[in-house]
């Protein structure tokens, strides 16, 4: 299916150069078709972008709900960033949305964050009940987890793998050290 090829190319190009910085000519060239052929599959540049957004948010939610470990979820983001153009597209578009979709994207992103804080809260609650996590304030801790996640996403944007891994290591040690159960809470 050529529509899928268009989506793939568009996702990686939008992710790298942004909405305004990506032309239909670039996309069609990467796919190997002529520029107007895109219109056989998508009504406009905006519609193509919106279709990608739908895919990206849906995919992200699916992955989120399949996760049950806070560390693995973080790790999952790092791993996917290298190969998943749709994921990179989503990060870029959330950080830097085109004008006409700013509000829409923001709302959907906040919805996603809410879903994630809810999910995070559930995992924390499980940990408390299982006795592996101290009796922390769940809302605050979930918020702190989101903070760490965002900082990981930032580092992913800059593209240095080693910096990201280091950041993941440091932030997780701080975070885990703050919530884990144990007689000695700092090393």
């Amino acid at each position: 299916m050529s529509a899928e090829k268009i989506k793939n190319s568009a996702a990686s190009l939008f992710a790298e150069h942004g909405y305004a910085g990506t032309s239909l000519a670039q996309i069609s060239e990467q796919v190997g078709i002529k520029k107007p052929s895109i219109y056989a599959h998508f009504k406009s540049k905006e519609h193509l972008f919106s279709a990608l957004l739908d895919d990206a948010f849906a995919s992200e939610l699916r992955i989120l709900y399949g996760q049950s470990s806070l560390f693995e979820l973080l790790n999952n983001y790092v791993k996917r960033h290298a190969n998943d153009a749709l994921f990179r597209f989503l990060i870029t578009s959330s950080f830097f949305p085109p004008d006409h979709l700013k509000e829409d994207i923001l709302n959907r992103y906040y919805d996603y964050l809410d879903a994630m804080e809810k999910k995070t809260g559930e995992i924390l609650q499980d940990g408390i009940e299982a006795g592996t996590i101290r009796n922390i304030d769940i809302a605050d801790t979930a918020a702190m987890y989101t903070i760490i996640l965002d900082s990981i996403l930032v580092e992913l944007c800059y593209g240095s793998r080693e910096r990201t891994e280091k950041r993941l290591d440091v932030s997780w040690r701080f975070f885990w050290n703050s919530i884990r159960k144990g007689e000695k809470e700092h090393d």
Copy 2:
């Protein structure tokens, strides 16, 4: 001076719409001159952008070196974001640089981060010697501080003041709680 007016308008437009998303027509219109008049002050769109970058990095370093409190430095970022277009321009351009300057910006941004981690390390060292901070690993802690800073910058990008303040509050409590001296380290 009209060159300054151009810089101001360009900074806020670049910050909001990005390099590719901002046209010289928009800039000149906001300044109140005709489009070609920009060329009396800047050789090209790229040169205008580069001039802004120089200003922004210089300004940021100056502010960084004038700071002596880790919390105040964070707070300073939040406060400036509302009024300082050059600062917003710097964040946007660092997160999402135009292609032809990607490498240059990245290097300068890393230099800035290094300067900040160094400065952070000094402040932490002072705190340890003064007895207000525990005997933590300075490099790790400075890295963690940068993580928190980045997450604040992310939230600033999304523009919700209250979310930013909440994030500042939560992250600082976690951070400070992890490094401050005190018989009881968690509430």
